[in-house]
């Protein structure tokens, strides 16, 4: 398969719009890399530059050490899967998968071999004679994947391939794609705006915003150690809660005031706040919904981190409950045990697990400490 390297890649459109700025990434052979970010962040543009469907304005793209900037898309040994898995309606599954190879003038016997191999991998062997209208949504998507697999490319590029599927099928196909990656041992670059897809599929994730790479890391690190407030908010669902917090340093002890409550900050996080000169300054405290507890046991164990508020909305999701409330001008979400007795309108106490808190610069959003 392939090693891919992107060095200082930029994309500027003729109207001056800078879609991608100074993108740098080295992708190892067999990696499953995810580009994730909100719409318009440049993730699809970057993918299309790798494919050759967009020109690279500046920078260098190499695949296996060979510079690809000027290489025609069809000669890059890359296959793409898009979200609109259109199939040729008048052709059978077999012909749909074979069509691209026929265009490339691949000999018939080789086409047959490659199509049957791909069909086996995708469990489509029994459907080869069917026409697309006789297939389910998931089967059609598998045929679309098959068209990429038959080419046996060095790299697979997938641009939101599951976006057109319903939620249930999306989960199912996510598992299929993960299995496919293991089976093919392929290098895959996958674009999505869905952070759940990103977290579950990727070996590494590239988080993008406004054409700029925010962080490249493993799913675990992105979640636990976001480099800025954007990444912290984007990764995780429901998203991390953000509250304005005033810092007070007293020797080696640091406290933060949120609303009318002064809360002690654990020793593991004080150094960055002291060294950064944040005494007396307002920063942003980030805390994930699962790190806000309503259980009496937790409240008793952490009396210095307890806040009080009235529940605005109670949402039971089966295995967990989301409680929504306002505190210090922010809308807060807590993810608690479904056995909670709290209900909409109740005023209750919550304990914040400050060991898992994050602090961000108020103006730049850069992480002070995780």
């Amino acid at each position: 398969m392939a090693n891919i390297s992107l060095k200082n890649i930029c994309k500027v459109y003729p109207n001056g719009f800078e879609a991608v700025k100074d993108f740098n990434l080295d992708i190892e052979d067999k990696e499953f890399i995810i580009f994730v970010g909100p719409s318009g962040c440049g993730k699809s543009t970057t993918l299309r530059m790798i494919a050759g469907l967009e020109d690279i304005s500046s920078g260098e793209l190499t695949i296996d050490g060979k510079v690809m900037n000027a290489v025609e898309p069809k000669d890059r040994d890359i296959a793409m899967v898009f979200q609109n898995y259109a199939l040729y309606p008048h052709m059978t599954v077999y012909d749909n998968m074979a069509f691209g190879l026929k265009l490339r003038k691949v000999p018939k016997d080789q086409i047959d071999k490659q199509v049957r191999e791909a069909a086996k991998i995708l469990d489509l062997e029994k459907l080869l004679d069917r026409k697309p209208k006789a297939l389910s949504g998931g089967q059609r998507q598998r045929v679309a994947m098959g068209r990429a697999i038959v080419r046996n490319p060095k790299v697979f590029l997938m641009d939101e391939p599951l976006s057109n599927l319903d939620a249930k099928l999306r989960v199912q196909m996510r598992i299929e794609i993960s299995k496919l990656h293991d089976r093919l041992g392929a290098t895959i670059i996958y674009v999505t705006h869905d952070q759940t897809e990103a977290m579950t599929l990727g070996t590494r994730i590239v988080v993008m915003k406004d054409g700029v790479v925010q962080q490249i890391d493993s799913p675990q690190n992105l979640y636990a150690k976001p480099c800025n407030q954007f990444v912290a908010g984007f990764i995780g669902s429901p998203q991390m809660n953000f509250i304005d917090a005033k810092i007070k340093v007293n020797g080696n002890n640091v406290t933060t005031t949120i609303g009318d409550k002064e809360i002690a900050i654990p020793a593991s996080k004080t150094k960055a706040l002291i060294d950064g000169g944040y005494d007396g300054k307002t920063v942003v405290l980030g805390i994930r919904p699962e790190d806000i507890h309503d259980s009496q046991m937790f409240i008793d164990a952490s009396p210095n981190t307890v806040i009080e508020s009235t529940i605005r909305v109670y949402e039971l999701l089966g295995a967990e409950v989301f409680l929504y409330f306002d505190y210090a001008g922010a809308q807060i979400t807590a993810r608690v045990d479904p056995r909670t007795t709290a209900k909409t309108g109740d005023t209750i106490s919550f304990a914040l697990d400050m060991e898992k808190s994050h602090f961000f610069e108020k103006e730049t959003g850069v992480t002070i400490t995780n």
Binding site: F17, G40, S44, D210, G211, Q229, G233, V284, G329
Partner: protein, 295 residues
């Protein structure tokens, strides 16, 4: 295939290509000769050139009026059948592969592919029923993705509404052409452009340059949108896109509400416009679009 089947298929093809009904009245030829003659006719009739020339001139509005209706009839584009037109603009001169993919995507007797120039192709497709814009968008998106999947070909595709009277196709073509032009100014990274979704951008594009210049001078004086950093620009854009809602925008940008307020205040200091107010937000939106169109 026996003789009758072969003969009928060739006659059908000849009718399709020429618009003329052929009959075989000379019985002196044997079956092999008849088939060979029909094949020769097909081969020598420059149908593609004729058809292409007709549609090209028709779409560009260069055909004399009296030639239009007979021509459309000859090439089997009849009034009453809904048709949609896609203007496909390839990034590079297109190849036979592109056309093979396009022809294979749709029923072969229900489309016309017209070569406009080395990078532009028009696809006219007959539909069973009038389709709403969303479904047409899906169809175009599939076409675009198919070109990318099968042959790694990049193209921008513009489309407009369905029409049941083919006489309207030149107007639709003009709309698509305009959509590509406007798209390259305002939607540079978009590959699919729907004429009916161009919105305010279409209006700004058609304003006289002097009026645009005056608007910027009147409302922004010395401020130049080029001075806006990316973060401020995307914040303003998101605030406008989210209906001037602080809560929605801060959620969309994954920033704290106060951070958003700070950035909006900063823009107010630069321009004097408080985009929390609708009138100022409108001025800002129009200013941004004019700045984009003149950049």
């Amino acid at each position: 295939m026996n003789y009758e089947q072969k003969r009928d298929a060739l006659l059908k093809k000849l009718y399709k290509e020429t618009g003329i009904t052929f009959e075989i009245t000379d019985n002196t030829n044997d079956e092999v000769q008849t088939i060979a003659k029909l094949e020769q006719l097909l081969q020598h009739y420059p149908s593609d050139d004729n058809r292409n020339f007709f549609f090209q001139q028709f779409l560009l509005g260069k055909l004399p009026k009296e030639e239009i209706v007979p021509g459309l009839h000859r090439f089997h584009v009849e009034k009453g059948t809904p048709v949609v037109l896609f203007l496909i603009s390839f990034r590079q001169p297109y190849s036979k592969d592109s056309l093979s993919i396009l022809s294979s995507m749709f029923a072969p007797d229900a489309i016309h592919l017209i070569h406009m120039d080395e990078t532009n192709v028009v696809l006219i497709r007959e539909l069973k029923a009038d389709l709403p814009e969303e479904q047409l968008y899906e169809m175009v998106a599939s076409t675009s993705d198919m070109l990318g999947t099968e042959a790694m070909i990049s193209a921008r595709i513009a489309f407009d509404r369905c029409v049941c009277d083919p006489i309207l196709l030149p107007e639709i073509y003009q709309h698509c052409y305009l959509a590509l032009e406007i798209g390259s100014l305002f939607f540079a990274s978009e590959t699919i452009l729907s004429y009916s979704r161009l919105g305010l951008e279409k209006l700004i594009y058609q304003l006289p340059p002097q009026a645009c210049k005056e608007f910027l001078q009147d409302h922004f004086k010395d401020f130049d949108f080029k001075e806006l950093d990316n973060e401020s620009r995307s914040t303003i854009q998101a605030f406008l896109d989210n209906g001037l809602s602080l809560a929605e925008t801060s959620r969309a940008l994954y920033v704290h509400r106060n951070t958003l307020i700070y950035r909006i205040d900063k823009f107010e200091k630069q321009t004097g416009l408080d985009i929390r107010k609708f009138d100022d937000a409108m001025i800002c939106k129009i200013g941004l679009l004019i700045a984009d169109s003149t950049s």
